[in-house]
Amino acid sequence: MQPIIDLDNLSVKLGKREILKNLQVGLNGRAIGLLGPNGAGKTTLIHTLLGFYPPSQGTARIFGQDIRTAPKKIRSLIGYMPERDSFIAEMSCVHFVRMMGELSGLPSDIALERAHEALFFVGLGEARYRSIETYSLGMKQLAKLAQAIVHGPKLLILDEPTNGLDPPTRQRMLKLIREIRDTNQVHILLSSHLLRDVEECCEEILILKEGQVAVYCDLEAERKANRKFLELETQGNNLVFAQAAAQLGCEYALVGERRVKLILQNEVEVSDLYRIALENQIQIRRLNFKRDSLEDIFLKAME
């Protein structure tokens, strides 16, 4: 199957700095989370896909179209919600969204109709005749989402869509993203540094670290994988305990002074852990089975 986004040895230089380095991955999911610490290259990757920055080496393909040779064709398939506050001054929201629709190729009357629909969909129906300059931050984010979907794109790129939102508005934004995803009519690339946002909306994740692919995985498959994750709270020297567990073949991660995360191997039982705790004079105060959360995947990628 042809990937939705195919990064083919993609490198991008801005000035003398190489921001993206030889990215090689094919993204297929309905909703793909793009993660990474600040400066990892998430936004640069998005901007390169949109044709704002030229690749210094390699290329990328979106729905099989090369970003080097068919940037306009690609942009006609994409809806983009930028991270920064972006709007057109002195314009009501409905006019703004309509204009964006027309620039994407919608006929004027259809653009107006769809602008109204998009604004009602995102929950700005009652405020659609107000100037965007008078909107709150949350409303501006919703207006940006409306302009990104007005022309019915096949790929929706959302750059930090929940930035600066209060909890109810954030939940509303995530609900909208899930609703769009569940229509099965559009693919979503969601860039965020908020792991919970990505976890709630995405099926696949691409983690970037220093401009390189650190992890690309199917979140659902990872969750369903038959791996035993344990989180233990201990009293005593948990490093000694963790190293003893490692000798049994377990992977471990220390979380603070009292907590240890373990991945049990098939042949290792929980009773073995109690045994090595006893041998090392360590108390196990709490033991929880735990799924491999996105946070764990992310932290592992950052190691």
Partner: protein, 286 residues
Amino acid sequence: MAVFEHKYKPYTGELTPVWSRFMVLPRYAYQEIFKSKLFLALFISSFVYPLASMLIVYLHHNETALQMLRLPIADVIPINLDFFYYFVVVQNTFGFFITMLIGPILVAQDVNNNGLALYLCRPFSRLEYILGKMTTLFLLLSLITWIPGIMLIMLQGYLEGAGWLINNIRILWATILGSILWVFVLVLISQAISAWIKWRIAATGALIAIFFIPNAIAAIIQEIFETKWGYILSTRSIMRTILADLFAHPTRIEIPVWSAWIAILFICAFCFLLLFNKVKAYEIVQ
């Protein structure tokens, strides 16, 4: 995605031709521009001189009216090259004032509000954006410069007879070329300023400075070095030289016409480069 359903639905219908999309920008810009009463007053007043000129042309050919008014209009205001030269000069001046009013905000408001990314993330190129913004001003200025100029010439040609237009074809192309060139220069300079200077008052000030300060510098150069080449720095003087040459009108500025043409082409190219360099979705921080 109907309003009552509140659901997302993709669009599968017809799309407009790609080449026509730059015209979306002027259409939306005019909705905002014509809300300004100051602009509207200036725009309407810029039609006073063309209407007065048409009236003069009409009176020239209406013996009855002339006898009734007892005006020796044919002696006072003859219809010749100078008549059309001053028409172009007056209308071009109005064009400058209108540019001062709306030119500085056209690109600046998109740059200020990070709006460029919203345009350029669509199937809409930087060139189309620039073309759209330039068209906004170009069409407005055309309505008060070369379009009424052509109408005036056509009226004179109609009333005087077809032979007049053939004998005075120079007036037609001098009016069209002189006006369009001025409009084009105004559009390019104002849009380049608009892209680089975000503050409206500063941008308007820069526009005025570009058209007036080099003249003063040229005068100083002339005083000190006794050369008129300093006027090559002044867009206004360059245009005056070209316009005077087109209409065979005497001028006190004595820079060669060929140098004026080269200078104006250089100014246009430079402004376009400035504009093109600034119209980007995001600035690259080196």
